[in-house]
Amino acid sequence: MRGARVALAGGLAAVAVALALVLSHPPAILARPSAIEQVNTILAIVPGAGSGCQAGETLPAHTSAIRLSLESSAGPRVAVTVRAGQTVVAHGESAPGWLGKVVTIPVEPLDRTVPNTTVCFAFTGAEERVYFLGVLAPRRGATRTSVGLLQGRMAIEYLRAGNTSWWSLAHSTARRLGLGRAWAGTWIALLVASLMASSIVLASWLTLRESR
């Protein structure tokens, strides 16, 4: 019984410390506002392998990940390379198996902004289709891909670590959690916290009781 109590106290303390550490980190934010608000245009559908390059980009300082608008249900590993002229300024690779309309690729951050870059990407899948998403644009600025010149530009976003921790965003996050609800209000965040606290207390008590 004593062992169970110690394990419970130690375990919950470790969870609390991990929680505090995670919330002390800043969330990833857009390094600059996205030029494309809603990406729904399918510019190309590629079965299996594909690649492409998009010129006229700017790599913002401190970018830690690049988000490409590709869609798949079990996407392949995607490699991205950012070039300024002939110089590679950033490179990264995503994990495979991604799902949805974007794939996020981590890259090594730079201290400076690099203008006039070309972002190239490539992937080698099996037969699953990968959709290239973006917005229609004139041929001059269009993306070149393995299936030819697209009718527009793909949506590319640059992420970096934010300046403030999750702790300092707690109030605005709680306020937003309470919007778009039947019974809207910040109190919903408190309700969620109370529900989880009750569950944890109940489970802890029950676990100890049954450990006897």
């Binding site: 019984m1 062992g3 169970a4 394990a7 419970l8 375990g11 919950l12 470790a14 969870v15 929680l19 919330l23 969330p27 857009l30 996205s34 608000e37 809603q38 990406v39 729904n40 079965p47 249900s73 079990a74 590993r77 994990a95 495979p96 198996g97 799902l99 949805g100 309309k101 974007v102 996020t104 992937f123 080698t124 899948g125 099996a126 037969e127 699953e128 289709r129 965003l169 996050t173 937003r176 959690l177 919007l179 778009g180 609800r181 039947a182 809207a184 919903i188 309700l191 969620v192 529900l195 009750s198 569950s199 109940l202 489970a203 029950l206 676990t207 100890l208 009781r209 049954e210 450990s211």
Partner: protein, 492 residues
């Protein structure tokens, strides 16, 4: 003894720990119901539309399109669901002005809403029982509008999480009767399992299917431990019918349930005689098959395809090569063998679809943990697997007399996996994994509970209590961080 007295006695026989596990599962699911933004759970829009069609038109949906009733479309529009879904760069609405517009539009829609063409999107082909049940909270919230109705409907799903956890506990009490502590660990593990909370905190028949499956597992385990009785046989038959009426995915579990019933009847024939055993089996099978027969007859008389949407699946399956399909099924769950066609070039479905998905795939399947969490999570998963394997090896002799029972559980697993695989193969190769989602494995939650219970026992007498506590804490942590992940995705 009257039926009421029997029921009272049966309820009194349920340990308080089981009720508490159920309560924890409910609280957790309610919490998830407030965390997941409205309509940001797979197909929730379609499920809501189905209920709306059933409650207002008193008819089943007639279209798989997304031309829902005007009040739902208004809510989807004001909540910017199209902009948020699959695009993690967009969170939910963030301003008071957007909230006021939403409230005012929905208040206006309460009286002026048009029903539409009877569409229920992807849910249109599903059986109606869950939706009929959800029509009650839908009606109760009618004066408040779409969001009130959705919130109340989510609470009904949350109750089903409680049923799931309760019956996982009771299943383990029958299946592993010698270790009461392990029942609680497994019950709480399932109660805090974030995928169960996430799904049961939303409007989706998966919540009910999980609960029905847990009750069936319990009944089968009870039958194998105490023998089949006429009452138990009828209960299994009724539950099978309920399963068929809940979600089409139950088709995958049905062969295992029928096998279980047949084996239990065969075993009973040794004590009560073949005639009496058949008299238990026949009505149970008849009740179980009734919804399928009615469905087939309705389709035949209304000149639809005999098995509805399932006919399409069968036709699609028939048009593919059997070898290709078997190879795909294998690769969907197991490592590819030499000589097999490469169906998943760059990914291991076991790791990237199933492990990652069960670890944390929330929202509209667009909210994941960072990649490093998967590597860290492997440690406790391997520890639980090792303890579980140790216990199985230590008690291997005890499992031998229970081969038939284990075979039934295996058939339930296999049936579900094959169904998921066949359904997914319809879209292959355009979509390698368009259908398989981890939530479809939730009906196997009782076996997940078995793994946790065996791991608790595997730690031995000395460390069993500590191991049980740590497993519960692990699932508390998993649940908390999963909720934070969703909060960060939508509200950060």
């Amino acid at each position: 003894m009257s039926r009421r007295a029997q029921l009272r006695r049966a309820l009194r026989g349920v340990p308080s720990a089981a009720w508490l596990c159920a309560l924890v599962a409910c609280l957790n699911a309610v919490s998830w119901s407030f965390i997941s933004p409205p309509f940001e759970v797979p197909d929730e829009q379609a499920h809501f539309a189905y209920v709306e069609q059933l409650a207002r038109a008193h008819r089943l949906p007639s279209s798989g399109s997304e031309e829902y009733a005007s009040d739902e479309l208004l809510a989807l529009d004001d909540l910017e669901v199209g902009r948020v879904t699959f695009q993690p760069e967009h969170g939910t609405i963030a301003s008071r002005a957007a909230q006021q517009k939403l409230q005012s539009d929905l208040a206006g829609a309460v009286t002026s809403s048009q029903l539409g063409v009877g569409a229920a999107g992807d849910a249109a082909s599903q059986p109606p029982l869950y939706y009929a049940l959800e029509a009650i909270p839908y009606e109760l919230g009618a004066s408040g509008g779409v969001l009130d109705q959705l919130a109340l409907m989510r609470l009904v799903s949350a109750l089903m999480a409680g049923v799931s956890a309760l019956f996982v506990f009771l299943f383990l009490r029958e299946a592993l009767p010698s270790t009461p502590r392990a029942w609680t660990v497994a019950g709480l593990g399932v109660a805090f399992f974030p995928m169960l909370g996430f799904i049961s905190g939303a409007v989706t028949p998966d919540a009910m299917l999980c609960a029905v499956s847990a009750v069936i597992f319990y009944c089968l385990a009870r039958g194998f431990r105490r023998g089949l009785t006429p009452g138990l046989a009828i209960a299994i038959g009724v539950l099978t019918a309920v399963g068929f009426l809940t979600k089409l995915n139950f088709l995958g579990l049905a062969p295992g349930v029928v096998l279980g019933l047949a084996l239990l009847a065969r075993r009973a024939s040794a004590t009560v005689g073949v005639g009496a055993a058949l008299r238990m089996l026949a009505p149970a099978l008849a009740i179980a098959a009734t919804p399928v027969l009615v469905y087939v007859l309705v389709n035949l008389f209304s000149h639809h395809r005999t098995l509805g949407i399932s006919s399409g699946v069968i036709a699609a399956t028939a048009s593919h090569s059997l070898g290709g399909e078997l190879s795909y099924l294998w690769q969907l769950y197991l490592p590819r063998l030499p000589g097999m066609h490469v169906d998943f070039a760059d990914i291991s479905p076991l790791r990237y679809l199933w492990f990652r998905g069960l670890l944390g795939e929330y929202g509209f399947e667009d909210t994941f943990f960072p990649g490093w969490v998967e590597s860290v999570a492997l440690l406790p998963v391997l520890a639980i697997a090792a303890l579980c394997a140790r216990e199985v090896f230590k008690r291997r002799r005890a499992f031998r007399p229970r081969v038939a029972e284990l075979g039934v559980y295996f058939a339930l697993v296999l049936g579900l996996l094959v169904l998921i695989g066949i359904s997914s193969y319809q879209w292959f190769p355009a979509e390698a994994a368009g259908f398989p989602e981890p939530r479809y494995l939730l009906p196997l939650a009782p076996l997940f509970g078995v793994a946790l219970a065996l791991a608790t026992r595997g730690a031995g007498r000395r460390w069993g209590a500590v191991s049980g506590v740590l497993i519960v804490v692990l699932f508390i942590a998993h649940d908390l961080f999963s909720q934070l992940q969703v909060i960060a995705r939508y509200y950060g």
